[in-house]
Symmetry: C2
Subunit: 166 residues, 2 copies
Amino acid sequence: MTRRLAIEPLTAEAFAPFGKVIEVSERAKHFPINAGMAERYHDLAPVEVRGDGGKAIISIVRATPVTLPLTLKMVERHPLGSQAFMPLSDRPFLVVVAPDSGGRPGTPRGFMTRPGQGVNYPPGQWHGVLSALYAVSDFLLVDRGGEAKNLEEFTFAEPFLVGVAE
Amino acid sequence: MTRRLAIEPLTAEAFAPFGKVIEVSERAKHFPINAGMAERYHDLAPVEVRGDGGKAIISIVRATPVTLPLTLKMVERHPLGSQAFMPLSDRPFLVVVAPDSGGRPGTPRGFMTRPGQGVNYPPGQWHGVLSALYAVSDFLLVDRGGEAKNLEEFTFAEPFLVGVAE
């Protein structure tokens, strides 16, 4: 039976167990730079790289949009590095994460971003693949480059339908 | 006497001596991910962190726009880390860089971005401060966090006027 997941608004509090929300927030440490011409919202998320031969790199991902409700068949995780996705457009996107439960993903949760919000997954965080909405959308991606097995995928026995009332 | 600098269009070739242009480009290595739902333009720029206690962090800078022509009085550089600036809006911004000449900046050059272009300065690259245009603009910043002296500033004996015909 397909299980149904509602989509929650993305907030720093709700997302805290899964990673960081990258956004301008008065609760972040912030301070003026450039003689007051700019305000720096500082260290919103760390870039983490583990394992031999790893390095942090900056890429762009151009994503085809999904449609809602989304049929979620699998999630993945990257044990050796964090992944930050920051939208380069004002369009929201869908963020799906799952807690770890003994090396497998537990029940997923779906979050809808507001314009100006990105996310950072720490190493090992189960998540759905990048899910743009409405139009082809570009995202800045900061993650680990270099050889090494840095991908685990998990296919659910039954898919979840994300984006309908529970 | 104030010296005048024209503004050039930002291209990967013209900018190569000063850093990387972060943009979707067919000349970059790129490949499909997420079962073909996205295209990854891979490793457009490295994140470099040097010195004890340094780490790569993700911040947002909210910049007040400058007006053109810009009076350029100083440039700065960060010996211990790269700095990537990616606009989170579609507005162009002004990028000013200078070659190093025996530990001091040589003659600066000014570049105008197109929408979708960001830049990455390698460690030690002389550059002007972030110069948004037209409206208050947010930029994703990937650079070095942690204590250490990671800023050198140089004030020109005579300012440059950037954005007028030479």
